[in-house]
Amino acid sequence: MRRLLMGTLGWTSSLFSVAFLTSVAAGSAQAFTAYVSNEKGNSISVIDLDKMEVTATVQVGERPRGITLSHDKKQLFICTSDADHIEVLDLDTLKVVNTLPSGPDPELFTLSPDGKTLYVANEDNNMVTVLDVDQGSVASEIPVGTEPEGMGVSPDGKWLVNTSETTSMAHFIDTSTHEVIDSVLVDTRPRYAKFTPDGKFVWVSSEVGGTVSIIDAATRKIMHKVTFEIPGVRKETIQPVGVAITDDGKTAFIALGPANRVAVVDVASYKVEKYLLVGQRVWQLAFTPDNKLLLSTNGESNDISVIDVADQKVTKSITVGELPWGVAIR
């Protein structure tokens, strides 16, 4: 109903809204599916992005947080943190078909571009675990700072960046030697690391520091710090976490936690163009493969917000399970 209404409005109002209508049409054709991990619900919500509704809820291991798709997009890897392993969900049958070792308390991970390696942040023991996906075995463990969380891999797969929250560093790891080559001090409590599509820069969000540091991947120097200011919102509540950058490298979206906003940043100028009001305590973000929609997980309002990327507007919120954390879309 809502979508129909918006579409009708779009038809009669402006060109921008026509763009939105097109995006919905494209979504229908491809029938994207979103998967959301519910940290307290111990479940994965499956969302049909054509119907914009939850079509299934799958019970998984304890405290699912970070999730990511396999290279062939047929499986979903789930950091079931309190189960101390990674569960593999078959996306056709929606059954957990395998578990992988991960080291204790896996929180967030990233898949190498070739799909062969998972790099897992073990929050409780200050390690990054390197996991051979096909073998289902641990290839290596890399000591990093206290409370590792953010994990970003360069598009060429040569560099891994891990952030450690209490240490406040972005660790640059050579994926061929599994050694920390460099550690860049950023603002307090870095949560997320994201390479730009060209691999030249890494965006690192600092939750308590309230900034996003943009690090030159070659020199490991901080080139710029994005700061945020929202009228009527207390500065302390602006806590950047998730970072998503469009495939064309032009626009970045940054989830601002308890400020309940997603910031839209122009990558070329680092300027914050807009703040989008979403649900409560927004942490993680994911695009549809066509980059037309962006989904945010809102932990405290137990829902996700659907953002129209071209319009820079929130078009829908969908209730999922208890304490939604991670999101992946195929």
Binding site: D84, H85, P101, G103, P104, D105, E123, D124, N126, V138, E141, P143, G145, T146, E147, S164, E165, T166, T167, S168, M169, H171, E179, V180, I181, D182, S183, V184, L185, V186, D187, T188, R189, V208, G209, S213, A218, T219, R220, K221, I222, K225, R234, E236, Q239, P258
Partner: protein
Amino acid sequence: MMAAKPRLSAHPWLIASSLALLTIFSVGSLPGSAMAQDEGGASPSTTPQILNVTIGYLTEAIPEPPPLSLVEVVAKDKGLAGAKVALADNNTTGKFLKQSYELKEKTVAAGGDLKAGLDDLVGQGAKLIVADLTADRLLQLADLPEAKDLVIFNIRAEDDSLRLKDCRANIFNVVPSRAMKTDALAEYMAVKKWMRWVLVSGSNDADKAYADALRHSAKKFGAKIVEERTYEFKAGSRRSDTGEAQIRKQMADLTQRLPDYDVLAVADESEVFGEYLPYRTWDPRPVVGTQGLVPTAWHRSQEQWGGMQMQRRFEAAAHRWMLERDYSAWVAVRAIGEAATRTGKADPADVHSYLVSDAFTVGAFKGQGLTFRKWNQQLRQPMVLASPLMMVSVSPQEGFLHQRTPLDTLGYDEPESACHLNK
């Protein structure tokens, strides 16, 4: 439950990484100006400066009464355990910067020689001291000529006098003051509109000080104390096999014939009777204060803002849950780590100037960075309001505003204080 897997220890790894590969921040560099080298490039000019930071932990062997409830943990290393976890955290960070941290502990006998204790710590190189001491002993320590150029972190004494008049340039108050706690409680009472309080106080000095703080907070936030009563401790009142009926009657008597009221505020820091009040009052009223709904810097139910990680890390190390004093000690040692990490220096004068600078902030699982008030060197922090098993709320409450930060609605403000440090 956990798969047994090989663990790499930090030490061999550190040796294995060649110094040239590990880029070090130049000493004195600030955030944002991090030094970096070209990929894999070795440069003799950035030969790492090794910084060893020695922290002293000084306490006095004062016997503490066991908690009234058998459920409460009896901790012999209260405070120290938190310092140890923070030390490990500092060392994890330090290995990337060629910094190392050590903790030297000293316990003086009750009423013993603080100067000798301090001399011992300073002799071992500790110039940054975590003080697990009561207010009078803390001041004795801080006023020693030997302590003049040290930095002392108060993790125990909650006395408002230390923030109002007896401030010292060499003392940083990490533990919240009583007024910060009771203000945090009063804000929540205001939100709930539970504005008519009955105050029941114990008879020890600490109980009286807490009652004073409650009175001040009531006035500050517009609550009314409709009546006050005092509970006198008598031998035989404490828990015993046959005491249940007696306790129930005592508490009912204590709270009988009161004017109409909303909450019963209890001031019993000595833990003599407060835990007996809930469900035994004459009228059905919630209990708040030192028991019941408690304002505290830390609670075992605190899982927000990454708190779960802290709880787990602490429990794995100390084999018990984290108490408020452990948390304060953790923050103190982490504040030292933050100063050393960000500035590359750890002399007391450098640490002092960094802690009171605008650059300083420490993440401590409170959803925002913590800083020090410049005029009295008190750590600003949100306060947890907790029932025995659950976090109920966090103050400052929404809508309580202050020109600097809402955190400064908690505790005595600058104009009320005779302290004017760091001017």
